[in-house]
């Protein structure tokens, strides 16, 4: 046989893989719709930002000052006053019954203290039974108070040089000014979908060949191990591309998630990450016996770490130290930094090269391991 037949062999193999994928309509539909469903579900259900905050106002001596701050709260679309009380004693049952999220408590001397420049006593009580929403509500409320304070100072410059110096803690939420949690989730979801398509689907597809006995036929044929792997992987790479674009489009259309960086860089990084996943899937398939084992193994070995140890939901810094160390070998951890950087900060290669280098290194190691484990003679 002449040598130039090699490329044809790989081509025939890729065509076969595409046919497998296109013919299994159910799986294909699920895989194509998955990013859409995930972005929408995560975006609506698991968002940690809080919109309808129920506010209780305790104002023993209402006057212009307290009323204007109160109006300031109701003026935002996040806060809604559900209770007004003359004293703080009434608050506890309200919190206990879960009817109130935040209470704004004016002390009787509030306006006087404000006028004389003394520390104006004002208490902010937050239901922190869910620490994450609790601190978010606290942040919102503080921001409202700070804005109100700022406004008073600028409106009353006549108070003269001896007037109170109000320290204005101008808090700006960088890159995500409105603290939209969906902005943070979308990069993680892209990583998750790519992990599923690459690692898990390759693992399943390769172990299916093993289980059905067709792998033996392929290994006996002139196809080389790298051709089998490339042929398996190439179609899923296309699918992964489609998924990234779907996820981005859904994020942009439904949640107006910003996209500040380079799309080319994002797609290139996604390709790199997908290849890491594909190599991982290949390795898993080579080391496991059946489709079921391969599926469980890829679930445990890729999906769980990609969700829990990647910083997608829980910040890496809040993990216990041993898990922080483990997170370094989770590819999604690095990829999510890259996607967040590109999407939210508009970061370029100059800022992200370290993460990309780590992923490249992982790819090299996994590729070598995957091809080695496919050498039939090692059996």
């Amino acid at each position: 046989m002449p040598q130039p037949t090699r490329r044809h062999a790989l081509g025939a193999f890729v065509v076969k893989e595409l046919r497998h994928i296109l013919r299994d309509r159910q799986t294909l539909t699920i895989l194509l719709l998955l990013p859409l469903a995930q972005v929408v579900l995560f975006g609506f259900a698991i968002r940690t930002d809080v919109n309808d905050i129920r506010l209780a106002v305790v104002d023993p001596a209402p006057d212009d000052a307290t009323r204007s701050l109160r109006d300031r709260f109701t003026g935002t679309d996040r806060f809604r006053v559900v209770a007004s009380a003359p004293s703080a004693e009434r608050l506890e049952p309200l919190f206990r019954r879960g009817e109130v999220d935040v209470a704004l408590v004016f002390a009787p001397g509030f306006s006087r203290a404000l006028a004389t420049g003394a520390a104006a006593p004002l208490q902010l009580i937050t239901d922190a039974s869910n620490p994450s929403t609790g601190s978010t509500m606290q942040t919102y409320a503080s921001a409202v108070i700070a804005a109100w304070q700022r406004e008073r100072v600028t409106r009353a410059p006549a108070s003269g040089a001896g007037g109170p110096v109000v320290i204005d803690p101008q808090v700006r939420m960088l890159f995500n000014p409105t603290l939209e949690s969906v902005n943070l989730f979308v990069p993680g979801l892209i990583a998750l979908v790519l992990t599923l398509v690459s690692a898990q689907m390759t693992a399943i597809s390769l172990s299916r060949e093993k289980e059905r006995g067709t792998m033996e036929i392929l290994l006996v044929s002139p196809l080389r191990p790298w051709q089998i792997i490339v042929g398996k992987v190439a179609p899923y790479l296309l699918l992964a591309f489609a998924n990234v674009l779907t996820a981005l489009a859904a994020a942009w259309l439904v949640f107006a998630v910003p996209f500040r960086g380079s799309l080319v860089l994002l797609l290139a990084s996604s390709t790199l990450y997908t290849l890491v996943g594909l190599a991982l899937g290949t390795l898993i398939a080579a080391r496991t016996g059946s489709q079921l084992t391969a599926m469980t193994a890829s679930m445990m070995g890729t999906m769980l770490p990609s969700t829990l140890l990647s910083g997608m939901i829980f910040p890496i810094a809040s993990l216990p130290l041993p898990l922080q160390l483990v997170s370094h070998v989770v590819p999604a951890r690095w990829f999510i930094v890259v996607v967040r950087g590109i999407m939210l900060k508009g970061a370029g290669l100059a800022h992200l090269w370290q993460e990309l280098a780590v992923l490249t290194l992982m790819l090299a190691v996994l590729m070598v391991a995957a091809i080695r484990s496919f050498k039939p003679r090692l059996a």
Partner: protein
Amino acid sequence: MNAIMVRELTRRFGRFTAVDAISVDVAAGEVFGFLGANGAGKTTAIKMLIGLLAPSSGSARVAGYDVLTQSDAVRRNIGYMSQRFSLYDDLSTRENISLYGGIYGLRDAEIRTRGDELLRHLGMEPIADALVGTLPLGWKQKLAFSVALLHRPAVVFLDEPTGGVDPVTRRQFWEMIYAAAARGTTVFVTTHYMDEAEYCDRLSIMVDGRIAAMGTPAALKAEFGVASIDEVFVRLARPATAAAGG
């Protein structure tokens, strides 16, 4: 030159010797039956011949190439049909044909003409575009065999090709084997059916990793003074079974 030349071929797994210094010669165009009880070492021996397993010692040449040092050339010149169905159920007959033609480096035109010829020969032209998974088992096996011969290999290895197939189809299958041998293809076949063993030009019977007997069916029956290969097989295999039990 012989199509298959095996010299002192040995494979050990730890302390267990699965194949123990076997030597076999198979002439070009011969139908060679490779028999043995389950666990006798047949599959291990075949895996070494088709390049799926490295020998611990000894040597083997298949289609003129050394299995250890020239495995690429061996792969291009052999066909293989495993005991498990080797085609893809979710591809059509024609798609399976073009896949294997492509893997073995046939040109598109060759794939088309040989594929058409194959389909006509099997009488499968009307269902060429049906998914293979929908075909009856007998048809699948005949198709798998034809596909294994698509690249016209010098040697074809058949590992229990007729398992679970009805007697009529088995007969047709053996006619196909003869036809291939008549065209010069060497056929190396394992089987559990002793009536099929009688169809082989020559055969060997493996017991505990060694070749316990080898020759034409007639010579073996004469040597053991029995009327059928089945009886030869039982004579040879029984001591091994008894030893394994004790």
